[in-house]
């Protein structure tokens, strides 16, 4: 775009457009020249960069807990759970009834079992009044002990599900800013019903939240840890330095970048580590930006398309940061150095597809503290590329 530059100094909007790489080349050069000679504007540019990076970080924080929910198709369990709650029109009252039945059933089975275990002779006598209960408990016992674990965990999980809504309900009364709400009785009823659904839904999320903190953290960390990571990557410049900070970076590269013009450019990305991959693309690869300079295709050095796509992450500075765009994969590629030759770190990993797998990944993440994949030191050069 053109700069609308009236008066002695560029306005704030132009400065932001400039750091966002949105100013056309001739005007950008003018602006650059002005800023070099104007201490006041240099300060304003620095401030604008700070604001842009800060705003990126704050926006990234919106994803923090729900970021786990942001994975496409990776958390069908969660999405389904929300929908199921709605479909089933679960209200706390109904849920409480269901819980009561389950608890009763659980107690019946437990009592039936323990009675049989302590006094085998009694086992055939119905512990609870109904024969049905005995009949139900018999097959469960037959499959013990595995079945017992499953049953116990199912019951406790069900109970855990029900607990948050109950614990929060008393507090809710005080928390509602009733004076702000204009309303007839209909609205109140709707609000209450929707609230119940929302609470139930949040309880499911809360359970998953507490069940998988490190995986969750690792997955969202790449945006949460952005500013610190940016500073490091920006100043690193060398793969060696990048490698030195990789432990601190682990899983949280990102959230930023680029006064670097990338429109229509191609970068050849190479690694000293044989067989390194970004997503499923094996290095060396060519990252070919389209005319927007934001989205890029990942090609082989022969120019063949791979399934990987990348997006330039926005922000300011001279670091080039890309996020891997491929359903089922997470990844980042941070390149620093302002010349044609850059060096940096590349990570990627396959996303896990289901809650059970997330839990397993979580256990792995605890050990490696690195759910975004092992960082690979890479170098990159601008290469000419023919659009195919």
């Amino acid at each position: 775009m053109k700069v609308e530059w009236v008066g002695p100094h560029p306005d704030e909007g132009s400065i932001h457009a400039w750091i966002d790489g949105e100013i056309d080349a001739p005007e950008a050069a003018l602006l650059d020249e002005h800023v070099r000679g104007c201490a006041e504007c240099a300060t304003r540019v620095a401030e604008a960069r700070g604001l842009a990076a800060g705003a990126s970080r704050v926006v990234g924080q919106l994803d923090m807990a729900p970021a786990r929910l942001m994975q496409p198709a990776t958390t069908p369990t969660l999405g389904d759970a929300g929908t199921m709650w709605r479909l089933m029109r679960v209200t706390p009252a109904r849920a409480a009834i269901a819980a009561t039945i389950i608890v009763a059933l659980g107690l019946t089975l437990t009592r039936g079992r323990s009675a049989r275990e302590s006094v085998p002779a009694i086992a055939t006598a119905p512990v609870m009044s109904g024969d049905a209960m005995t009949a139900m408990s018999a097959p469960k016992e037959a499959a013990a002990p595995e079945t017992d674990h499953l049953l116990d965990s199912a019951i406790s999980r069900k109970l855990a599900d029900e607990q948050p809504p109950r614990t929060v309900e008393p507090a809710r009364g005080g928390a509602i800013p009733t004076q702000d709400i204009a309303v007839g009785p209909g609205t109140v009823a709707d609000a209450a019903a929707a609230m119940k659904v929302a609470t139930a839904r949040s309880s499911i999320r809360a359970r998953v939240d507490s069940a998988t903190p490190p995986a969750d953290r690792a997955r969202v960390g790449y945006s949460a840890g952005a500013p610190a990571a940016l500073d490091r990557v920006t100043t690193a410049g060398q793969a060696a330095e990048a490698a030195a900070v990789r432990n601190e970076l682990s899983g949280k590269v990102a959230g930023v970048v680029v006064a670097v013009p990338t429109a229509g450019q191609c970068f050849l990305v190479e690694s000293g580590t044989p067989g390194s991959q970004w997503g499923t693309a094996t290095l060396p690869i060519v990252v070919a930006f389209d005319s927007t300079g934001i989205t890029a295709r990942v090609l082989t050095t022969g120019g063949a398309d791979t399934e990987m796509r990348a997006t330039r992450v926005t922000g300011g500075g001279d670091t080039l940061l890309l996020r891997l765009r491929r359903i089922g994969y997470d990844g980042t590629l941070a390149l620093s150095g302002s010349s044609a030759a850059r060096s940096g770190l590349m990570r990627s990993r396959q996303q896990t597809a289901a809650l059970e797998e997330v839990k397993k990944a979580d256990a792995v993440a605890r050990e490696t503290a690195n759910a975004m994949g092992t960082p690979v030191a890479v170098t990159a050069h601008v290469v000419s590329c023919q659009r195919r």
Binding site: M1, H16, D20, A55, V59, D63, A175, D180, S210, R309
Partner: protein
Amino acid sequence: MVTPDRLKALFHSYHQPLVRFLTRQLGDRDWAEEIAQETFVRALKQETIASERSWIFAVAMNLVRDETRKDARHRKRLELMRDEAKAEAVVQPAPTSMERDEERAMARKAVDTLAERDRDALLMKEEGLSYEEIAAALELSVGSVGTTLSRARRRLMEAYETLQAEASGASAPA
């Protein structure tokens, strides 16, 4: 009509960023999914789409606006209640995730203080839309996107820092 193949391609390219954008807008993943879905349904009915990304984000924005106009206060209140209910829930997750929740709640509040247009522009920028695309989606002139973004960023950071100061003031030992 957009062909099923084209729709599939659109979905692959834009679904994830759109849902993230909408979730950031609305603070509700399920709601965001619904609106994203409706957006793609509308894309299917289109003859042609000139600037895909702008079109998709603009349609999603309009759907959000239609819905929020309907029950803005209602939603806002629910969100507030849900956040407070979460905060007051007896079963608390580990400290690290508590901090995270606080940070997220603070970010949410700060983002909510922004004027609608400023917030839309900022969230679109964060999804990688160019000034031109943002201008098309929000029906602004390209020249005013920088001004809109600079205002959005400044106000967001001011609001966030104020909230942070309040929080640290409140939790500081007496």
